[in-house]
Amino acid sequence: MGKKQAGTGPLSRRPDNSAFKQQRLPAWSPSLTAQTVLPTFYILSLVCLFLGIWLLITVENTYELKVDYTNAGTCERCFEMRKHAIHTRTTCTCSVNFYVPKTFSGDVFFYYGLRNFHQNLRRYMDSRDDTQMVGRKNNLKAPSSYCAPFDYDANGVPIAPCGAVANSMFNDSFTVRYYPTKGPEVQVPLYRKGIAWYTDKNVKFRNPPTNNTFTLQQAFEGTIRPLYWQRPVYELDDTDHNNNGFINDDLIVWMREAAFPNFKKLYGVLNRAQGPFTQGLPAGNYSVSIFYNFPVEPFRGQKELVISMVTWFGGQNYFLPIAYLVTSGLILVAAIVLTVVYVKVGKKGKNMEE
C-alpha cells in the first residue's frame, strides 16, 4: 500500500471501488429455514431407508462360512506341536470336516482368517523394506534398519525379504475336498493367483532382474530366507516359478497389513471350469486338510478358513444395511421432533416486521 503511487489528486489515495475490496462480492447467503431443513430431513431419512433395505436384501443373499481349525478335529495335535519351537521344522498335516448348508452360487472365495494377530502394530508395520521388495539390487542386500531385528541373521547375512511382516508370513496351506452325496470325493479346484491388487503384483513388488542365464536363485544369492520361513523366497511356489520371489501372490497378500487384529486374507478363488463347481460351491459335506505350520498358540490367536461369495457390494456384511436402517429411523424421529417443535413451539417466521 505504500505504493499507492504518484497520483496527487485529492482522491489519489482513495481505495479502489472494487466489490472485493469493499466486501460487496456477490454472495449466496443460505440460512436454515424450515422450508429447507425439514424436507432435507425427510428426504435423508427416505434415502437411508431405501439404501438400507436394498443393502439388506443384497446381504441376505450373500453367504459366508467360517471354519475355525485352530485346534479343531485332527488339528489338535498340530496345535500342540506348534506350541514348542523345537518342532518348527517338522511338518504337520491335519484335516477338518465341515458342512455347507446352502449352495454358494457364483464366484466363491476362500480366505484364511486370523484372530488376535496384530498386523497393525506400529513397529510391526514399519518393519518392512519396500525398496528391497521392489527388487532394487542395491537394497536387496542392504535391508533397511526398520527391519531390525529381522534385517540380518546371526551371521550378518541380509535377510530377504526382511522385517517382521515378511518373517511372520502365514504359511498354512489348504486342500479342500468336496464329498458329493453321490460319487467320489472331488478336490475343490482353486486359483491361487490373481488374488492380490494389480498394483501390488505389478508395481509394488518386483523381483531383482533376471534373465535366461541368471536365475532367480542367483539373483537372491547372498541373502538368506527369513528366520521363520521353511523355504527361501525364490522357492515359495514350486508349481509355478513365475510366482516366486517377491512377486509371490501369498507373500503380497500377507504384506498388505490388516487394519485390525481380526482379519481374513484371500487364499484362493474357486475355479468354476469343471465338475460340480460350475455354478459355484454346492451344498454338502466338505473337508479341508491343512499343512499346519503357522503357530497361533503363543499369541492366543485362532485360525479359520472362510468361504464366501460376493455381490457388487462385496461379501456378506450386515453392518452397513443395519447402520443405514438405524440412521434412517433416527433421522425420521429427528425430523418429526423438528416438525413438532417448529409447528407448536417455534417462533416461525419471526422477523423484524413484527
Binding site: 466486501q23 506400529r122 517382521a164 498388505r256 484371500l266 433421522i331 417466521g349
Partner: protein, 1328 residues
Amino acid sequence: MSNIFKRKKIQDTFERRVRANDREYNEKFQYANNCIMTSKYNIVTFLPVNLFEQFQEVANTYFLFLLILQLIPQISSLSWFTTIVPLVLVLSITAVKDATDDYFRHKSDNQVNNRQSQVLIGGILQKEKWLNVRVGDIIKLENNQFVAADLLLLSSSEPHGLCYIETAELDGETNMKVRQSLSVTSDLGDPNNLAQFDGEVVCEPPNNKLDRFCGTLYWKDCKYPLSNQNMLLRGCVLRNTESCYGLVIFAGPDTKLMQNSGRTKFKRTSIDRLMNTLVLWIFGFLVCMGVILAIGNAVWEKEVGALFQSFLPWDPPVDNFLFSAFLSFWSYVIILNTVVPISLYVSVEVIRLGHSYFINWDRRMFCSRSNTAAEARTTTLNEELGQVEYIFSDKTGTLTQNIMTFNKCSINGHAYGDVIDILGTQQKRVQPLDFSAWNPLADRGFCFYDQSLLEAVMVGEPAVHEFFRVLSLCHTVMSEEKSEGELVYKAQSPDEGALVTAARNFGFVFHSRTPGTVTTQELGKAVTYTLLAILDFNNIRKRMSVIVRNPEGRIRLYCKGADTVLFERLHPCSHEVMNITSDHLNEYASDGLRTLAVAYRDLSEEQWEEWSEHFRGADKATDCRDDRLAAAYEVIEQDMMLLGATAIEDKLQEGVPETIAILSLANIKVWVLTGDKQETAVNIGYSCKMLRDDMTEIFIVNGHTVQSVREELRKARERMLESSRTRDGGKEVEAQGLGGACAFGNGCGGGGAANRMPDESKCPPPQAPPPSLLESISGEFALIISGHSLAHALEADMEREFLETACACRAVICCRVTPLQKALVVELVKRHKKAVTLAIGDGANDVSMIKTAHIGVGISGQEGIQAVLSSDYSFSQFRFLQRLLLVHGRWSYLRMCRFLCYFFYKNFAFTMVHFWFGFFCGFSAQTVYDQYFITLYNIVYTSLPVLAMGIFDQDVPEQRSLEYPKLYEPGQLNLLFNKREFFICIAQGIYTSVVLFFIPYGVLSYATQSNGVPLADYQTFAVTTATALVIVVSVQIALDTGYWTAINHFFIWGSLGLYFTILFAMHSSILFSIFPKQFHFLGSAHNTLGQPVVWLTIALATVICIAPVLAFRFLKLDLKPQLSDTVRYTQLVLQKKRKPGGRVGRGVGGSGVASGSALGRLGRGGSRRSGYAFAHQEGFGELITSGKNMRLSSQALANFASRHSSSWIDTLRRKKHANSPGMQNTPPTGDDSAASSQAPPLSTSSSVNSRQDTAAGEAGQQCNEAVLTHSPDDIALSMLRCADRETGGCSTGTVQEAPFVWKGSGARICGASSPGPPPIAEETSSGD
C-alpha cells in the same frame, strides 16, 4: 560498557548537567541523542531476535520440542517433516509479517529523525537532521516548526525573548502559550554571540511532568533559576515567532514528550488470551490422552504384546512393558499433537491481516478532504473491535475540528445568522456573503450567510456598529500587517480570533495596537482609540473588558463575557433586550454554540478618574493583589448596556452526534477525556448529544480535596439511587435500593468506610445483593469530573468508588486532565471492568491513553502524527468509528469466533480418530492416516475454506449492522466464542471422530471388494477414514459459511478437489517408483475409492456426523433466535417479497445534522451553557498593556516595559499557585447577604436540582431573586456569589468547587418564579 551505562544512570538519576556548545563535555554523560527508535530490529539482529521472540510463544516452542521428539526413532510415530513443514511455514510467515511491520516503523522513525533543524556548530548555523542533534547543542527554530527536542529558550526574534508556542501535540490545549528566555540570554541575540555562550545547566533528570521544570543556569559565575517558563518542549510548534534559539537539554527518548508516551506494550486481544488458555487446556487434555493410552499400552504389552514377542520383539532399549508404555506416551504426544494445530496461530494472523486490509480498503472510511484512508496499523487486534464497551475520546481535534466560526449573533434583540425561509426550514445551499467587494480588508476564509446583518451594517444601525466595535476593541489579539491590506491576527484563543475576524469582515477592522492605543478601521475610516485599561479575563470573572477613550474623548467600557456573569451587571434599562437576547442565547446553546454576551458602559471622566485611582491602588498592592484587582474590576463593570450576544461554533467533526448516538445504542459507553476546560468540554458534550437536556441529572465533581471529591461522588450515587427509587416507586424497589446502597457500602470499603457509616447502620443486613446495583440504575445520568478531582479519585482507595459512579452514568466527561491521567482512567476501567476499551485521539497528549487502551485509534490527516504513530488504527474522522466498530469490528469478531469454533472442531475430529484406533492397534501409536495426509490436512486440505470463511463471512449486510446497533452486543458479552462454545466444538469434534472411526471399522473389517479381496487392510482403512473426514469437515464448513462468495466456492470445492488430486498423485506408481519407501500407499486410492461400499460408508458417516448438527442448529434458530438470525431472516423474507427494508432503526442513521438541530430548537429552549468559553489564559491583558510583546522601537515604551518586566511572569506564577487550595485565607471583600448562611451546603453539593432540593433551595431562591435568573447557570452563579461572600471573595479554591447546574427543568422553574423584570437594583446596591 556496563560501567559507562551505570555511571550514566547514576548521573541521570540525580541531576543532569549540560554545557552549551561543548559536545565533548556533554558526551561524558552519555545522554541519549535525539534519535528516536520505535522499531525493534535491524538487518543483522532480525533473524536471531525475531526467532527468539517467536520461540517465546509457547506454541512454537512446543512444536520445536515435538520436532526433537520426532527425531528419536524409538518414539517417532510420525516422520519429522509432519512437524517441520508447518513449523517452518508458520515461522516464516510470522517473520515476514514482523519484518514488514518493522520496515514501516523504520520508515516513520526515519521520517521524524530526518527532519531538518538548524544547529549552531562552531558559530555557523548548519542544517542537521534531528537525529544528529545532541544535548548541549544550540538550535535555531523558525516559525511553524516543530520543536526538535526539549530546549532551554535562549533568545528569540521577538522582543524580550518572548516566543509563542502551540502545545496541542503535547497536552491538547489549543491556545497559544508564551515562553520567555532569561533576560541575560535573550540579549545574546545573534549566532555569533550564542556560539560563545558557555553556560552550564544543571537540572532535574528526565521525567514526564509536562508542566514542571527546575534547573539552574550557571554562566559567568552567576546562577539563574530556570523554570518551565523558559522551556520549549519537543512536540510543540513555534507560532507567531519568526525564530528563536534554544539549548538542547533533553533529547530523543529523554524528552518529556517521549517520556510521556509510555511503554509500548504488546497488545493481545481477549480472544488471544482465551485461545492461549484453551491451548493450555488442550495440552492438559493431550497429556491425559497420552497417559490413558500409555496405561493401555502397558496393559496390552503385558497381556498380549509379551506373547507376540516372537513375531515382534521389543526394541532393544525396551525391556519391559513399563518402559514401552513410557515411550508410547511420547509417541502418542507426537501423533495427537494436532489437537493444537500449529497452523492455528498463523491462520489467526492471516485472518486478521485480511480484516486489516479490508479496513484499509474501505472507501467509506476514506476522507476525501484530507485524502487519507483508514489504516489498520496493528493487524492483531481486529476482532477486539467487535467487543468494545468503553470508548475514551479526546475532544479537540477528535470530536471537534478545532475551528471556531462566528456563526450567529443577536444584536439589540435582533437575531442574525439564521437563514430561514418562509416555511421555517433551513435552506441547505446558500451562498456565503461576499465581503471583499466592499471591504478590502475582509478575510476570505470567513463565511456568513445572513444578508440582513450586512445590510444592517450598511444602513448604519448604531447598535450593530457598536456591537462590532466591541468585538474589534475588546480582545487581546495581536495583529500584524504582512503587506498592505493583509492583516494577520495572532489570536491567543481561537474564539477571540473568530470574533475579531467577524468584526473585521463586517467593516470594523482591528488594525494594530500599542500598549496605549488600539487602531481600527471602521468602515474604511481609521480610528485610534486610547486604551485606558484592560480588565483581563480570568476563570472566575469569566469576562473581560477594555476601557477606551475614543477620538472624540468619550470614555467607554466595552465588555464581553459569559452571559450569566454579564446579565447580573446590566443596567435595568436593558432588561428588555436582555430577555430577548436570553431567548436567543437559549437557542444558540441548544444548538451547541458557544455564546458570549457583549455590553458597554459609558463612563464619565470623573467616574474613570475615581476608578483608576482605586485600580492603581489595587494594582500596587503587594498582598492579595489579584483579589483586589478583581474587586476593582467588579466595581467598574456595572450598569452596563447590553448590546447583544455572539454565538461561536466549535465545529464538530462531521457526524459526531450521530456516531455517538449509534455507539450508545450499541451499548458502548463514550467517555470524553480532554485537557480542555470544563465549560468547553461540557459545551461539546451537549453539542455532540452526549449530554442532553432530558437527562435525569448531571453531576459535577470539582473538589480539590480528597474529602470533597469523595463527598461529591457519594452524593452523586445517593442521588442516583434516590432518583431511581422515586422514579420506579413501590416498596420493592426501595428495599432493593437500600440493599444496593448497602452492598455498595460494603463493596468499596477501603478509606471511605467512615464516611458511609450512617448508611450502613441504616441498612438491614445485606443478603448477598448484586455486586453492582448501580449498573442497573434506571435514568440517565452524566458525570463531569475535573482533572484535579480526578487526581484524588484515581487514588487507590477511591478508584473503585469513582469507577462505580462513573460507570453508572450514561456519559462521563473528564476535563483538564493530563495525558497521564487519561492513561490512568483507561487503565482503571481496563483493570476493574474487564471490558474492552478503545481510546481515540489525535494529539501527542493522547498517546499514553492510546497505548494503554486495548485499542488505540489515532485521528490522522491532522498536523501531528504522534497519536497516529502510536495507534492501532487511524482514520481522519471520528464518525468512521461507527464503521470501524459496528461493521469491521463486528464482522471480525464474528469471523474470528466462527473460525476458532470450526478450527478446534476440525482438529479434534481429525486427531481423536487416532485415540480410538489406539484400542485396536495395541496402543502402539500407529496413526490412522497416511503421514502425508497428517502433514497436509491442516495446511492444505482444510485451511483455505476456513480461511475464506474467516476472512469473508458476513452474517448480515453492513448496512444492517448500522441499522441495528444491538447486533454489536454479542461481541461485548463474548457470546460467540467462550469456554462453553469451545466445549461444544470439542464435543462435536469428538463425536465426529467416533463416527469417523467406528463406521469404517464396522463396515470395513468384514467387507470385501467385489473381486473378493478384503477391504480390511490398513491402507484402505486409512484412505476411507481420511476421505470421510475431509468430506465431513467440508460439509461442516459449508454449513458454517454464511456468505458464499465465489472465493468460498472456489476454496471449498477446490480443497475437496485438491484432496483427491493429491491423494491420487501420492498413491500413483510414478512417485512410488522414485521413492518406494515414502509413497508405499501405492494404488490405495484407486483400489479403495473404486468400491461402492467405501462410498456408502463415507456417505453414512457424513450423514451421521452432520444430521445432529443440522438438527441442533435448526432448533436453536427456531427456539432461541439471535438478533442476527432474525435480521437475516427478515432480509430473506424481504428479498422474497421485494419490499423496502425494515422499519426499526431506520431513522437512526438518517437523522442528519440539520434535522437534529432543528429538532433541538423546536423541542425546548434547553438550558443555557454559555460560559465564557474562551480557551483563554489570563495575563494577556497585562502583556499588552506592558507592551512587552510589541515590536516598538520607541524608547519610552521600552522603558515602560522594562519597569514591569519582572512582574507579569511573577503574576502569572502567583495566579497559578492561587489555584491550589492553600491560598484561601485572604480577607473577604464582599459583604454578607442575608442568604449567605444557608448557601454553603448548596455550593459544595455536587449537583443542585431545584425540583427536589426545594428546601435547601430557599437560600438559592433569595439569591436568585436578587439577580436576574433565566437559567440554572444563574442560580449556580448566584449561589456561588452567596458562597463567595461567606468564605471570602478571593478564595479561588471554593469558587471553583461551586457547581454549575445544567438542569433544564430547573431553569424552567426559576424562570417561571421570577417573571417580569427582577429587582436588579437590589443586587447593584449590595454589589458595592
